[in-house]
Symmetry: none
Subunit: 401 residues, 2 copies
C-alpha cells in the first residue's frame, strides 16, 4: 500500500485549516566554523514562539546528501516522493506562466542569448533584456513553423521564454543546448531514444530558424534551450488529501508547482504583505494554504549572508498576521537549504517547525539548525510532513483495528 493510498483510506472530513509557509532555501551554514547560521543569527521572536508552543525538527528533502532543485523540494513538502515524480524545468516554467500543458506536449525553457558573428555565445542572458525586448523577440519566434508539430512561444521574464512543441510521438530525453559557457556556440540537441530524437531534430530546426529570424535583434539574436520535459502523471492534492488547497506565491515556478498538483493558484500580488492580505481574504474558502517566500533563497544564492538574515527577519515579522487567523496547523519550513556560504542549494536538512494544539512538547526554545536537532520531529523525510499536517489537523483516522 502506498502512502497516498493510505491517506485516501484514512482521511476524514474536518473544518481544520493548515498553513504551510515555505521559506525557500531556509537552511544555512555559518561563514566561520564557530559562527552562527543565517537563521541562528536572525532575530526571530515569533518563530521562536512557534518552536516553544509547537515542535520542531529537520526535514530531509530527498535523501541525505542530495541537494534538490525547487521541483523535488516542493514535491516532497507536498507529500510526493521526489524520486518517483520528476518534473522537468520546461514543465515548471510552462506551468508558472499558466500555459495549459497537454498530454502530447513537450515544454522547454528557452533563454535568449547574444551571439557573435561566428555564432558563439557572448552573453548567456542577452544583457538581461527588458520585458518589451523579450516580448518583441518572442513575437518574432512565433513566426517559425515546423513540420508535424504545433509551436507555442511565450515570454517569461528577462531573457527567459517558454517553448512548447505539441504533436504525436515526441520524447523529452533531450540534452540542454545551453553550454553553460561563453565563447562557444550553443550545443546541438540530441535525443536518447527515437521519440526524443524527433524532438531534438525539431529543436535544432527551431534554433536555426531563431538565429535567422532574430538576426537584427541583437543583443537578443540567439536562443538556448533547456529542460525539455513532458508533464508527469501526478495525482492531485485534492485527490490524495481531500483538501481545498490555495497557493499564495509570487514567482512563476512556485505557482507552476502548485498548479501541477492541482492547487488553486491565487493572485497574491508581489509582496509578502499582499500574500498575507490574500490569505486573510480567502481564509474561509480553503482548507490548506501554501505560502511561498522566495527571498531566503535568492539572497542565499547571491551569497549575501546579511541580506538572508534580514529576509528571515522579515518573514518572522509576518508570522503574527498568519497566527492571527488561528490556523489549526502552522508549518514553517523550506524546500531545501541555500547557505550563503555555498551560494547554491545544498543537501543540508531544513529547519522545520509545526504548531498545533496536539504537539508533544520538546525542550527547544528557538528556531535554528542546531536547536532543531533536539526537536520532537527529529530528522525526517520531508515527504512525511503532510502526514503530520493531516494528523495534527485531525483529518486522519486510525489505521487498522
Amino acid at each position: 500500500m502506498t502512502t497516498h493510498e493510505l491517506i485516501r483510506e484514512l482521511r476524514e472530513p474536518a473544518d481544520s485549516k493548515i498553513v504551510l509557509v515555505v521559506a525557500d532555501g531556509l537552511g544555512g551554514l555559518p561563514l566561520e566554523p564557530d559562527g552562527l547560521t543565517e537563521l541562528e543569527t536572525a532575530r526571530t521572536p515569533h518563530l521562536d514562539a512557534c518552536v516553544r508552543e509547537g515542535t520542531c525538527g529537520l526535514s530531509i528533502p530527498v535523501l541525505p546528501g542530495i541537494a534538490p532543485g525547487s521541483g523535488p523540494g516542493h514535491l516532497a513538502l507536498f507529500g510526493y516522493d521526489p524520486l518517483q515524480y520528476r518534473i522537468g524545468r520546461g514543465i515548471l516554467e510552462a506551468l508558472g506562466i499558466n500555459f495549459p500543458i497537454g498530454p502530447h506536449d513537450v515544454a522547454i525553457r528557452g533563454n535568449f542569448c547574444t551571439l557573435d558573428s561566428q555564432g558563439r555565445i557572448v552573453d548567456r542572458r542577452a544583457g538581461r533584456p527588458t520585458q518589451e525586448q523579450n516580448v518583441a523577440a518572442v513575437e518574432r519566434l512565433r513566426r517559425i513553423r515546423l513540420n508535424d508539430v504545433e509551436l507555442f512561444v511565450e515570454p517569461v521574464r528577462e531573457h527567459r521564454f517558454v517553448l512548447v512543441l505539441r504533436g504525436e510521438g515526441l520524447g523529452d530525453q533531450v540534452n540542454d543546448t545551453d553550454p553553460q559557457a561563453t565563447g562557444v556556440p550553443p550545443l546541438p540537441a540530441q535525443g536518447h531514444d527515437p521519440a526524443s530524437q524527433k524532438t531534438a531534430q525539431l529543436l535544432n530546426q527551431f534554433t536555426a530558424a531563431a538565429v535567422e529570424i532574430l538576426a537584427e535583434c541583437a543583443p537578443l539574436n540567439g536562443v538556448t534551450l533547456r529542460g525539455a520535459a513532458r508533464r508527469p502523471d501526478i495525482p492531485s492534492f485534492a485527490d490524495i488529501y481531500g483538501l481545498r488547497a490555495a497557493a499564495l506565491a509570487v514567482y512563476p515556478m512556485y505557482k507552476g508547482l502548485a498548479r501541477l498538483v492541482g492547487m488553486d493558484v491565487l493572485d497574491a500580488g508581489t509582496s509578502l504583505q499582499s500574500q498575507i492580505d490574500t490569505l486573510h481574504r480567502v481564509w474561509n474558502d480553503y482548507d490548506f494554504f501554501f505560502l511561498h517566500y522566495k527571498y531566503t533563497d535568492s539572497t542565499g544564492e547571491d551569497g549575501h549572508f546579511a541580506a538572508k538574515v534580514q529576509m528571515i527577519e522579515q518573514l518572522d515579522a509576518a508570522i503574527p498576521a498568519i497566527r492571527a487567523l488561528k490556523p489549526d496547523v502552522l508549518i514553517v519550513t523550506g524546500d531545501h537549504s541555500t547557505p550563503s556560504k555555498l551560494r547554491s542549494h545544498s543537501w543540508h536538512p531544513v529547519p522545520t517547525v509545526l504548531v498545533a494544539s496536539t504537539c508533544r512538547p520538546d525542550k527547544v526554545t528557538e528556531f535554528g539548525e542546531r536547536a532543531c536537532l533536539q526537536g520532537g520531529l527529529g530528522q525526517f523525510p520531508a515527504q512525511y510532513l503532510m502526514l503530520l499536517a493531516m494528523a495534527h489537523a485531525r483529518r486522519l483516522g486510525k489505521y487498522g483495528a
Copy 2:
C-alpha cells in the same frame, strides 16, 4: 531482499532470552502546554534505571502521523511491515478466543444490540450484557443454518461475539453493518466483488435469522456485524527469527495477535502479577516472551490522566521481578501512544527502552517522551525493533563478507 529474508539468512543459535513488554498506548501528551506527559509525571525508578543502564528512543509504529490500531501496532513491534500485513478485526477477535481459523474461513466480529419494534437500534451494546446473557443468546444463534457454509458462533465478552463462515469461495470485502448510530436499523451487508457478495448475502440472511431467533431475548434482540476478514498469509515468528516465543497476555485481542504470528499463547491469568508468575514458571521453556499490559491504553482511552499515571507506576513496580530473571534483552515500549488528552490512539512516537549488556550508553537518565528524544535509539520505525532485539541477543551474524 526483504528484512525477513535477511534475518533468516543471518540468524544464529544462542541461549539468550528476550523479554518484550508492551505497555499498550504508552506514549502520551501533557494536558497543558507547559505540563508533563503521563509517563513524565509517573514515578518510575525502575524504568529510569533501565534507561540509565540501557538505551532509549521513540518508535514510529507505521509512519509519521499515522495512528495505528492494536493490530498494526503489534505487528510492527513483532517485526512485520504493518502496511504489508493487514489483519481484519474479525480475525483478531477469532484468534483472541482461540478459535482455529482455517484457510476457507471468514471471521466477523458480532455485536448484540437492542432493536425497537421498528427494527431501529436503541442500544448498540445491548445494555452491555452479562456473560450468562451473552452465552444464552449465542446458543440461540447457533441454531441458524445457511446454505453452502458451515457456521460457528462463539461468545466473547459483554455484547461481543464472533461469527465464522466456513466454505468455498467466500470474500471478505464486506462493509460493517453497524451504522455507528442509534435510531436507525443495521445497514445491509454489501460485497465489493463476487466472492464478497456471496459473503454479504450470507451475512444478511444471518442477521435476519438472528432477529427472528432472538425475538424474545431483549435487550439482546438484534446483531450488527463488523470487520469481516480472512486470515492473512503471514510468516511465523519461529520461521523468521528461530525463536521459541511465548505470549503472556490477559486480553483476547493480544492473545490473538500473538497466535497469528505463531507464538505459544500461555494461560497467564488476569493480572500483571499472574503474568509475571507465569513468566518465572516458563522461563526455561522459551527464548522470547511477549508480555502485554493493557491498562496504560484503557486509562488513556478513558481520558483519565491520573489513572494512566498510576497504571504506569504499577508497571514500573513489576520491572524488578522481570529483571530478576536476568533477560539478555529487555524492551519496554508501547504499540502506539494513547494520550489521555485525546482519549484515543494517536500518531505520536512511542517511548522505548532497551536494556542489554551490549547497549551503547547515551545521556538519558529517565524514561519519558522528551528524555527519549535524546536517546541512542533516536526515532526509529517500530518494525526494526526486533532486529535490535535479535542483535543485542547475539542472535544475528554479520551481513556480507
